[in-house]
């Protein structure tokens, strides 16, 4: 039993609404900037500039879905960057042990905050507000108010490096293009297998024209995107990390029992608990996870700036939280998608980038971003109210 394509589109418009908005925003800025937005160089910058926000949005989404919030991530980014700089620059550690220590530190930070939220029921807003102050102060203390850098070149590659181009190629990085095509192929295979599994169990699936159309568009986008990047320096390392994390978190939230239980916890904590879900531990884990992702983001950001400054990470938490809400997460918990948060992060990113190219001052950029956040959530709430 399949619905007609038309009525299916109508029902699922909200699902793709954010994606369509992102495309519309990109088209708008592409037009307004006379094509600068989608130039290979700028596209690469767009990825590099937003990678750390996207990475943290993955963790923040889980925290928000579980019914909490984490205000400390910006300060944690700064603190981890400072820690990395002290270890690698001042103590001259190799980047592998230094990275491991930083990730562990992130986990410990998340655990400490999660402990108070989950087991002592102190509102996450308060715990992480305290964390925000504490880690901002600690990074100042670590750096003694100075900027520390530069990092060893091997570590810089995390943010400024591109995947090696084994096949060579002067104007086109063939390997990068091939990776993109392979990714598109993998997408088709997964989607076809999913559809076959649905059909085997008699599940209603998308109408065939819609299925083909949608996936052709996705494939075209992936190939076009990697071709664009391949014609500059290829796929950035950080894009690979980001994509892998994105796929992992999408899988965890949509396909695994732990993901399902986090949604149940945020949807109705009491009912989840009475169904045997370990709600306290689950809340705790979302914070540990957030801490680790904030540490990754901190390393990426430090490598990108190639120096650790006391001001690093300032205000990042706001962009990350905004990305989740623009992407359709609900402030009361239980609702939100990983891909939505990623799209939300890119909506913010494209607007930052586009407005900067247009020469709009930082003052009005903030005003516009604030209004977009409000508008996105308003439309979402308004639509829900109508149903």
């Amino acid at each position: 039993m399949t619905e007609s394509t038309g009525s299916f589109l109508k029902h699922n418009l909200r699902e793709y609404g954010m994606l369509i908005s992102l495309v519309a925003i990109m088209a708008f800025f592409q037009f307004m900037t006379d094509g600068t937005l989608l130039q290979p160089l700028n596209l690469t910058n767009l990825v590099l500039q937003n990678s750390y926000i996207v990475i943290m949005a993955l963790g923040m989404l889980l925290v928000i879905v579980a019914g909490h919030i984490d205000l400390s991530v910006g300060s944690v980014v700064g603190f981890i960057g400072a820690l990395a700089a002290v270890l690698m620059v001042q103590f001259e550690w190799h980047f592998v042990p230094a990275t491991l220590v930083c990730l562990l530190a992130g986990a410990a930070i998340g655990a400490a905050q999660g402990w108070f939220v989950a087991f002592f029921r102190i509102p996450s807003f308060i715990v992480t507000l305290a964390g925000m102050l504490v880690f901002k102060g600690l990074s100042l203390a670590l750096l003694q108010g100075q900027s520390v850098g530069p990092f060893p070149t091997t570590f810089q590659l995390l943010s400024s490096g591109f995947i090696p181009d084994a096949l060579g190629g002067e104007s086109l990085r063939t390997t990068s293009l091939l990776v993109g095509i392979a990714g598109a192929f993998a997408l088709i295979v997964t989607k076809l297998r999913e559809r076959a599994n649905q059909a085997r169990h008699g599940m209603e699936s998308e109408p065939t024209p819609f299925f083909i159309g949608k996936n052709l568009i996705f494939v075209a986008l992936i190939v076009a995107f990697s071709w664009k990047l391949a014609s500059y320096k290829g796929l950035p390392n950080v894009l690979i990390i980001m994509t892998l994390l994105m796929l992992l978190y999408d899988f965890v939230t949509t396909r695994t029992t732990i993901g399902r239980r986090i949604y149940a916890l945020g949807g109705n904590e009491k009912a989840a608990r009475l169904s045997g879900v370990k709600t306290q531990w689950l809340s705790f884990y979302t914070f540990v996870n957030m801490g680790v992702l904030a540490a990754i983001a901190g390393l990426v950001f430090a490598a990108r700036l190639n120096t650790a400054t006391p001001k690093a990470g300032l205000g990042f938490e706001l962009d990350v939280i905004a990305a989740c809400f623009i992407g359709g997460a609900s402030a009361s918990g239980g609702v939100g998608k990983v891909l939505g948060a990623v799209i939300g992060a890119f909506v913010m990113g494209v607007m930052n980038n586009g407005m900067s190219i247009l020469g709009i001052g930082i003052d009005y950029q903030q005003v516009i971003k604030g209004l977009v956040l409000l508008a996105a959530v308003f439309v979402d709430v308004y639509n829900k109210g109508k149903n």
Partner: protein, 514 residues
């Protein structure tokens, strides 16, 4: 007549909760209103106090000689009708004086005159016989005294008719007697009172008239001054309803004892010195449906939830045995693994993730059953959800419909499906048919009968006596944290159950077993 309510009818979504109810209260009398849970007493009082404003009900209210059309509680309070709910409406961290004058402060230009407030409070406290300073915080005094503060607050508003909803439900005997004495004292000062209570012995002590409400209608009125009214007369009026063929036929096939609770004691989660469950022992056998009867607040839900993974209460002691072996059910996970399931009375608050779809709600308690190594198999999950949708006849467009859009009966079926999929041996159903229509009720009864026939233990908590009598092989009667009687299905009757409840507190009746 001080108050006359004539022909009051109140509908919710077309279903009549009150049908042509009449209530007449004379000036300066204590008028008791009695009836089973859900008979419509509270609805009637909400109509009277303006919670349901004029226009939302049919009929007329005459008070002090004038027809009244209250638009809200404010209007009825201005007329002198004040209701004190079972759940007291006091702010715990404010003082007695602050609570008494909350929203009604003696003030000039918005500046409160605390001297006046304290002086007036002192006078009011004297009237209700409460020896506390007006500055004492509510949280520092017991429930009995809090009740008196509520009455003092009512007096400060120049009350003519005081409505008390189960005022003694959470009081001990001394406090109850003090409260009843106060009501008699108020009466001598010309303040009339409507007393809603289940405790017939208390009613016998103070009431001048009794009105019995059953199934949303007034069935009888007694005038206690014309002659003595026997408890039996009142009980019969309360429960005397016809029993139609509303339950599936079943031939019980009862085996060995499977589930036992021994000397179970539980303290209140916030007030650790209050004992909520006072040594309860229960047995349930294979294929048996065991009922727990009792009034609201008797401790039935608290018993069930404290057994189910200690999800209620503190300082829990006692033993749980399954098949004669002592079993650790100290967390919900362990309880579920041991084969226990608890279907909550509050399906929206504790049973369902309302925003999620039917399928996800059904599999939540047993995700292992639809996953391989923590990865959920969408297809298998869909198959499971579809199977239970058909088995329980959940009426819905698809299993991907959010449960918040379902009717009460279908929501209840989803909660049941969730626990059936977890495949328990002992199912505790707490008010399984609350707020659902007759058709869905029959389907749920049939399901219970099927479960018992399949060899499960079913424990049913219910405030509806007819369904307990219609379904159960054995019925425990619970009151004030204890089992006060036990009947077999054949010997039980509504009168016997009601009697064992209303008579606890005075004498232990001869029906008390064990």
């Amino acid at each position: 007549m001080l108050l006359e309510m004539r022909g009051i009818t109140k509908r919710f979504h077309g279903v009549a909760a009150l049908k042509d109810v009449n209530l007449a209260v004379r000036a300066g009398e204590i008028h008791a209103v009695v009836g089973e849970n859900g008979a419509g007493k509270s609805t009637l009082m909400k109509v009277l106090s303006g919670v349901y404003p004029h226009g939302e009900y049919e009929g007329e209210i005459h008070f002090a000689g004038v027809e009244r059309r209250f638009g809200g509680i404010h209007d009825s309070e201005k007329a002198g009708i004040i209701i004190i709910h079972q759940e007291l409406a006091l702010v715990p961290l404010l003082s007695i004086a602050e609570n008494i004058f909350l929203g009604n402060e003696p003030a000039r230009l918005g500046v409160i005159d605390w001297f006046a407030a304290y002086a007036q409070t002192q006078a009011l406290l004297l009237k209700v016989g409460l020896r506390e300073s007006p500055g004492t915080l509510i949280t520092d005094i017991g429930v009995g005294k809090q009740q008196l503060v509520e009455i003092a607050k009512a007096l400060s508003k120049k009350v003519k008719l005081l409505i008390l909803d189960e005022p003694t439900a959470s009081l001990n005997e001394t406090d109850s007697d003090a409260l009843l004495a106060l009501l008699l004292d108020l009466k001598s000062h010309g303040i009339a009172c409507i007393l809603i209570s289940h405790k017939l012995n208390e009613i016998a002590k103070v009431a001048d008239s009794i009105t019995v409400i059953r199934d949303g209608s007034t069935v009888r009125s007694f005038d206690c001054r014309a002659g003595p009214v026997s408890e039996d007369q009142v009980i019969q009026a309360m429960v005397g309803r016809e029993m139609a063929d509303r339950y599936p036929r079943r031939t019980p096939d009862i085996g060995d004892t499977v589930f036992e609770i021994d000397d179970w004691r539980v303290h209140h989660p916030e007030h650790a010195d209050r004992v909520v469950i006072k040594g309860v022992s229960l047995k349930a056998r294979r294929g048996e449906i065991v009922g727990i009867a009792g009034l609201m607040g008797a401790g039935r839900t608290e018993l069930a939830m404290s057994v189910f993974g200690r999800s209620y209460g503190r300082r829990i002691s006692g033993r749980v045995r399954l098949h004669g072996r002592e079993t650790d059910v100290s967390t919900i996970e362990k309880a579920v693994k041991a084969g226990l399931a608890y279907v909550t009375e509050d399906r929206k608050g504790y049973g369902l993730i309302l925003a999620e779809d039917i399928q996800r709600n059904i599999t939540l308690a047993h995700l292992e059953g639809v996953s391989n190594a923590a990865v959920i198999d969408d297809g298998r999950e869909f198959a499971v959800a579809t199977e239970y949708r058909q088995k329980l006849r959940i009426r819905c467009a698809s299993v991907f419909q959010p449960v918040m859009n379902l009717s009460g009966g279908n929501q209840q079926k989803v909660v049941l499906a969730k626990w059936l999929f977890a495949d328990p041996e002992v199912l505790i159903l707490d008010e399984p048919t609350r707020g659902i229509d007759v058709g869905a009720k029959f389907e749920i009864y049939s399901l219970m009968a099927d479960l018992a026939a399949a060899g499960k233990c079913v424990v049913m908590i219910s405030s509806e006596m007819p369904e307990l009598l219609g379904m159960c092989d054995r019925i425990y009667v619970m009151n004030e944290g204890r089992f006060v009687a036990e009947f077999t299905g054949e010997e039980a009757s509504q009168e016997k159950i009601m009697r064992s409840i209303v008579r606890t507190g005075t004498t232990l009746s001869d029906q008390r077993l064990q």
